[in-house]
Amino acid sequence: MTKIIVVTSGKGGVGKTTTSAAFAMGLALEGYKTAVIDFDVGLRNLDLVMGCERRVVYDFVNVINKEARLNQALIRDKRTENLYILPASQTKDKESLTMEGVEGVLSELSESFDYIVCDSPAGIEHGAFMAMYFADEAIVVTNPEISSVRDSDRILGLLASKTKRVVESRPPVKEHLLLTRYSPERVLKGEMLSVKDIQDILAIPLLGVIPESEAVLTASNQGVPVIVNRSSEAGMAYHDCVARFLGEDVEMRFIDPKKKGLFSKFFGGN
């Protein structure tokens, strides 16, 4: 049974595309046949983060408009055989993502894929709505910043009222909280909302915490999903998230400040 996962947040720049790329890659590396779709029509970026921007010929809207077949538009990832990318259109209008069109593509993908990851655009407009409408599960990406937390709460409201599952009176979309750009040191100093603060406010189960990490920028510079970098904290944290998503019981890491060595205790200032 294919699962459709939406990666959403409301606010822009919190790490939806980074998360979509990492998560889809993680699922593929676990052996699941996975497709990741960019719903951000006009601001296509998933292909860049995945490093396949030069192989884009046809896109999501071409398939909806029947200008190309699905297998012509799907780009196979060069690193793993289980992963395919469906890029967004860079030129078309947002409204070209029609309900019937999106449903058609998702149901065709469902015939052969285990997971479909939908990378939502920011905001709560048509594209974001289309990305979440058919979802079975949602990963709500949040920064420890008040504007991001508020927007996530708004998105949770929409997930609970504006999805196909709600319309059809099926069990609601399963929600997961993913906290990104977390800095335990700043939390300790009282400068940043803690995991617990954010969980108290949003009240959904925590899938994982991605620490603030230089590896994220490096990875996107290179067009490699950060999960591939298994020596980086962000890469390890995403790996844990995928394992938890698949039902494993993995302890939370990177939520406590690093223990200081003797040297920095004496000489490191704060």
């Binding site: 937390v149 709460d153 708004r154 009282g190 909302l193």
Partner: protein, 97 residues
């Protein structure tokens, strides 16, 4: 020392953030479940009352609470202070079918 400093000087910013967010999100949630005609209702009521008493947008609040078998429309109007008497608050509740 400004008002801002007075309230926030000795508190951690994360603590302030959590408090502001909790209040804001609780308010967002209430507004989200309100019917969309409420702001217009509020505007029109304001216009009518303004004919007789000088009040501001902030002095009037309209909200709808849903009970199990009834809906309660709550209307709060704060009348302006008169020379001789204190602020007066008029509360009116009306049962809707």
């Amino acid at each position: 020392m400004g008002l801002f400093d007075y309230f926030y000087a000795n508190r951690k910013s994360a603590e302030v953030a959590k408090e502001r967010l909790s209040i804001l999100i609780a308010r967002d949630k209430i507004q989200r479940n309100q019917p969309s005609f409420l702001p217009q209702l509020q505007d029109e009521l304001l216009a009518v009352i303004k004919k007789y008493v000088d009040i501001d947008q902030d002095d009037i609040s309209v909200r709808l609470d849903r009970g199990e078998d009834c809906e309660i429309l709550e209307l709060n109007i704060a009348l302006p202070e008169k020379k001789s008497c204190r602020n007066e608050k008029v509360g009116a509740e009306e049962r809707l079918p």
